[in-house]
């Protein structure tokens, strides 16, 4: 049986008031950390793919 997705039911999103500096900082730190983690993950992956196995 298919379940029906709940639809977004609003007419407005957001506010014209600016973000506070602490909100700006929190977001920027979060996305920065996320980017760094992704970079480290891809570096780790690249290292493992470089491994060469030799047959004896």
């Amino acid at each position: 049986m298919k379940t029906r997705k709940k639809e977004l039911d609003v007419d407005f999103i957001g506010s014209q008031e600016p973000l506070t500096s602490s909100e700006e900082k929190a977001l920027s730190e979060f996305f920065k950390k996320k980017k760094e983690m992704k970079k480290q993950k891809s570096l780790r992956l690249r290292r493992t793919t470089k491994k060469v196995t030799t047959e004896i």
């Binding site: 997705k5 709940k6 639809e7 977004l8 039911d9 609003v10 007419d11 407005f12 999103i13 957001g14 506010s15 014209q16 973000l19 909100e23 929190a26 977001l27 920027s28 979060f30 996305f31 920065k32 996320k34 980017k35």
Partner: protein
């Protein structure tokens, strides 16, 4: 005109005048002059910040002409985030009573306080739902 006199709630002229913000309108095919909804975003260094979304006055409430206007605009903002190299990451603010609704309908995450974020996987799902034929 998207003025308060014509039933629009936000001051879109102010949005339009801010150079760091990009304002997009949603229209239907073959009728580019009638605005169905508006979106204001700002492309930050590592995500897209969604300042505002507003459905046109005739697209609100039970008698709305078209459903899905805000969802379509959120999905567009996610698409823009991918296009600008930010992996679909999107942030916006929510009223406290709508946090759960955004979690359930957009796959958004409550970041803390009034902040909500949409990350890559949720963004892909939204794009898939609203831009299926593209």
């Amino acid at each position: 005109m998207t003025t308060k006199k014509n039933g629009w709630v936000f001051n879109w002229l102010t949005e339009f005048k801010q150079p760091e913000r990009e304002v997009y309108k949603l229209t239907i095919v073959n009728n580019p002059n009638v605005i169905q909804g508006l979106l204001s975003v700002q492309v930050k260094s590592d995500h897209v910040y969604m300042h505002l979304i507003e459905s046109a006055p005739f697209n609100r409430g039970k008698t709305k002409m078209y459903a899905g206007v805000p969802g379509n605009l959120v999905a567009f903002a996610c698409k823009l985030s991918f296009q600008r190299g930010h992996e679909g990451n999107l942030a916006f603010i929510s009223k406290s009573q709508l946090i759960k609704h955004y979690e359930e309908t957009l796959g958004a995450i409550h970041f803390g306080g009034r902040l909500m974020i949409i990350e890559t996987q949720a963004a892909l799902k939204l794009i898939d739902r609203y831009f299926k034929n593209q």
